[in-house]
Structures are given as structure tokens and as C-alpha cells.
């Protein structure tokens, strides 16, 4: 175990964390603000990568390609939203259905222009597409080329936009939908439309993150979103556990989510360095997320027990 080997890995982990942090902010919007677990994200993350990759390889400027990937994500969210609110399918199942459908769609998107018409992987070499927004090639350098700088900028701007949006009349209405649907309707807010818009914004961000990830890693893969929801939840929960007491402001809460994603990737890097097999990573992530999700339940359980015992709860 060579410590310099680990240190060399850390900038890459931070960059990956920042990119996944955007995805995690998308998850935060559905999971925390709208109070729904949306599983579309596993599919829409890959959709973002696929759309960006196919556009970049066909000569579209990466900036425009990334913007269009965001729009594709909005569309994915719209589909889940309509399945849920317009067809009465439970949110979690609506997300799974869209996710499943997106797997085929993503193969088709990546296959555009090929003879087969479907493809599992699209290479995006930085040598060939020099104007891509981010690339892992420069992640070790101190130059302005280092993707960490741009990712930091994007994250800060994004948090600013989200802070503004959820503070507007419309955004407050969306928060009310997530907090109390009966109250929202009594105030004249359409809960169905609110959920659709929330799911769209969330998946738009997730696809945006997927587009950046494809450029960063130099390829888009149809299974790059597998387990994305769990990573997103891990980031949300790590952020809350570590910074929850400290960060009360909404913008800071979003920052905590992004920091949570960075910490997640740094920890992953450390456990890999300690000798964990990459194949076991998803198992470890699932265990950690399950543990943290269970904590509030256990806490309330213990508090209830203490109440029964007649001892005062502090």
C-alpha cells in the first residue's frame, strides 16, 4: 500500500464526486423536497451520457450537447410524472418502468447512425473532441484545464439557481406539494402538475450530470447509471449526517449534498486502496445507505422505548 498512489487518486475522486453531486442534487429534489423516491434516475443518467456522446461524436459543440442532454432528462422526468399522476401508477413503480424503458432507448440513442442501430458504448476520446467541457486527463494538473475548477463553478451556479427557484412563488408551491398535498390543493396548487415539474427538474439535472460524466470518463455506456439512485441517496444522507446540524439554509443543504457526493467518492477511493475488490463496491454502498436510512427509524424507536420506561426524553 503506497500512500502516494492514494494521493494521486484523490483529485479524480473529488472530480467524480462533484459530477455525481449534481446528480445527487437531482435526487435531493425528489427524495427530500417532493418526498418521492424516483428510480428513473438510473436510466436518465445514462440517457444524459448517451445524448451528449452521440451529439458530440456527430460534431455538435459539447456545450450544446450537454444542454440537449438536460432537455432529454426533462423528458424522462415528464414520462415518469405522467405515468404517476396521469395514470395512477405508484411513483416508485412509475420510475422503475421509465428506467427499464430507457435502457432500450439509451441503446438506440447510442446506436444512432450505426449499421446495427443500437450500441452499448460510445467512445469519446479527448484527443478527438478537444473542446469537451471536462476530462479526467487534466485532473492531476494545477492548470485551469483541471475539470475540478469548472465543476466547482457549475456546482455553485447550480446551487444558486436552485436556491432562487425554490424561493420563488412557484418553487414555494412545489415545496408545499412535497410537504402537505392536502394543504397545497387547498391553496390552489395542482399537486399532479407540481410533481411532474419536480420530477422533470430532477431528471434534467441527473441527465446533465450524466452528460458531464460521459465527457469526463471519455465514453458513454448504457449501464453507467446502474445504482445511480443509491449513490445519489448516499450523497444526500452523508451530507445530512455530517453537515445537518451546521447547515440550516437551503443553499447550504444543497452544498451538503454535493459535499456528501465528494466524501462518498473519497471514501470509496480509500477502501479500494485498502484492497477492496471493485466488484464488491455496490454491495458496500447498498449496506452503508441501508444503515444510514435506518438510523432515524432506530432513533425514534429507542426514544419511544425510553418514553415507555417512564424516563424523560431529553
Amino acid at each position: 500500500m503506497n500512500i502516494t498512489q492514494l494521493l494521486n487518486q484523490l483529485p479524480g475522486a473529488a472530480a467524480q464526486g462533484l459530477i455525481w453531486g449534481i446528480m445527487a442534487i437531482g435526487v435531493y429534489i425528489t427524495f427530500r423536497i417532493l418526498d418521492t423516491a424516483d428510480l428513473t434516475v438510473d436510466g436518465s443518467f445514462a440517457t444524459g451520457g448517451a445524448v451528449a456522446a452521440i451529439l458530440i461524436t456527430s460534431g455538435v459543440h459539447p456545450l450544446l450537447a450537454t444542454a440537449i442532454a438536460f432537455l432529454a432528462g426533462l423528458l424522462a422526468g415528464l414520462i415518469t410524472g405522467v405515468l404517476h399522476t396521469g395514470m395512477g401508477i405508484p411513483a416508485i413503480l412509475a420510475g422503475i418502468l421509465t428506467q427499464l424503458a430507457l435502457y432500450s432507448i439509451n441503446l438506440r440513442i447510442q446506436g444512432l447512425g450505426t449499421d446495427l442501430g443500437s450500441r452499448a458504448n460510445v467512445p469519446l476520446s479527448i484527443n478527438k473532441y478537444k473542446n469537451m467541457l471536462v476530462s479526467l486527463r487534466n485532473v492531476g494538473s494545477f492548470s485551469i484545464e483541471n475539470p475540478i475548477w469548472l465543476m466547482l463553478l457549475i456546482t455553485v451556479v447550480l446551487i444558486g439557481i436552485m436556491y432562487w427557484f425554490f424561493g420563488t412563488e412557484y418553487g414555494c408551491g412545489l415545496r408545499a406539494v412535497g410537504s402537505n398535498q392536502q394543504m397545497a390543493r387547498a391553496q390552489g396548487i395542482s399537486t399532479g402538475r407540481g410533481k411532474i415539474v419536480g420530477l422533470m427538474i430532477s431528471n434534467g439535472l441527473v441527465a446533465f450530470s450524466g452528460a458531464l460524466m460521459a465527457q469526463y470518463q471519455g465514453f458513454s455506456d448504457v449501464s453507467m447509471g446502474r445504482g445511480a439512485i443509491v449513490i445519489g441517496l448516499a450523497a444526500v444522507i452523508i451530507g445530512e449526517v455530517i453537515f445537518g446540524k451546521l447547515f440550516r439554509n437551503f443553499a447550504l443543504k444543497l452544498l451538503a449534498v454535493s459535499l456528501g457526493a465528494i466524501i462518498y467518492y473519497l471514501v470509496i477511493q480509500v477502501v479500494l486502496w485498502l484492497g477492496l475488490n471493485t466488484d464488491d463496491l455496490k454491495l458496500l454502498t447498498a449496506l452503508v445507505v441501508a444503515l444510514f436510512l435506518a438510523m432515524p427509524y432506530w432513533k425514534s424507536h429507542m426514544a419511544a422505548r425510553r418514553m415507555k420506561g417512564g424516563k424523560p426524553v431529553v
Partner: protein, 269 residues
Amino acid sequence: MSEKGMLVLKQLYKTFNPGTVMQKTALDGVTLTLQPGDFVTVIGGNGAGKSTMLNAIAGSFQIDSGSILLSGRDITHLPEHRRAAFLGRVFQDPMMGTAASMNIEENLALAARRGQRRGLHWGITASERSAFREKLSTLDLGLENRLGSKVGLLSGGQRQALTLLMATLKKPELLLLDEHTAALDPKTAEKVLRLTSQLIRENGLTALMVTHNMKDALALGNRTIMMHEGRVILDLNARQKQTMTVEDLLAQFEQASGKQLANDRMLLT
């Protein structure tokens, strides 16, 4: 019955779970007209259709047949969130009327825009904030200094008082109160009830208030209706209310329904 009025309910019918063993006729031809400024208290046994009538007006579900007119407008088929523009609502459950994870001023700001288009302006303005503080101080609950507190931290009574303020912040054409003091302790209930009368009087509101307290029903408002098995079986005007006692009311009920008013939740004193 007159076609004109603030609220006109014509032959409302609603059966829940039709064709199953759970089938229940909740509204069996309810017809009722409220004049502007009417403050009507609604009493009746369990399952009489009181809450169902309020929820039908609010649009929580679609009625099977009949029509609902508010200020001459047919709102029978309008979805719940569209009717909100005209209605102020306070629920029995104090948790129902407010958003727990949002703070007091945000809840009030949402209510101030009830039924309006919500755009991309900032959700709350400075002038609103001071107006909210002023209105909250009239509640005398110390909430005027807690604008930034999450509503989830408030007591049931505080939340209900806040909901009441929210329901009247933007003057509703009709205020619907569904046993809104039933979940509160007697002292808090009395305070919220006093606030209710005050807000209705000051704003000249038209209101329907369901209550299980017969004494309150007689003491408050200018009209009392009694419901039984999905129908209005008794309708008392202000003058009749004045001379009526709870005992008279019970006797009237037996006469009109042919039954004893058996309801363990009903408060007779």
C-alpha cells in the same frame, strides 16, 4: 328555493364504494342555499354527511349528481385546486392545513397567493412580512416573533389558529370549517372558536362550520342546520336559534329523524 345566493347546493348525491359491501350513501339529496354573510353551523350524528358535504363543496371528490353554485358560478366539475381560489378551508386535523416543513411566513405567503398564478417572483415580499407580523400579533400566541420557525414545531392549537388566519388572509367567498376545534383541548378550542367568530365578523365572511358541540352550534352564527343520513333535516334561523336549548334541539332531532340522537362524540352541554 331561490336560485340566488352565495352558495347554492342543489340535490347533491354521493355514494361511496358503490356495489360493494362497503357501500355508503353519504349525501342523499342535500339542498341548501347560503346568503352572503351567513354563518351557518352544521350539526348531526356520526356519518350524517356533514364533512362529506364540506368536502363535496371543496372538490375533494366528484359528486354523483347535483350541482354546486358559488356566487352564481357553477363549480360542480372544477378540480379541487381550482376551487381553492374561492374557498378558505380549515380541517379537523391541525396537521392538514399547514406545511410542516416550511416556516410560518412561507405558509402565510402561500396562502396570500391562494388561487393565483404563481410565477417566478420571490415567494415573499418585505411588506408582506410586516403585514404577517401584524396579523399574527392579533392571535396573541407570540407567533409574530417566530416568522422563521418551522410550522412543524407549533402546537396543534397554534397550527389551527395559523390555518384559520391563512384561510382568511385572502378573503374567501366561503369559509369551510370542518370540526376544526375537535382535536384541541377545551381551552385552546375555545380560543380558536373565539378567533373564528372574530375573523368571520371582521371580514364579513360567509361560512359553514361543522361542529359536534351543540352548545357552540346554537351560540355561534346566524343559522344552524342539522343533518341526518345524508340529508338536511332541520334548518333554524337566527330567531329560532335564540330561543332554542340543547334539549329542544335533541327533541327536534328525534321528531325529524324518528331516532334517538346516539353519538358518543356529541357534546350536549
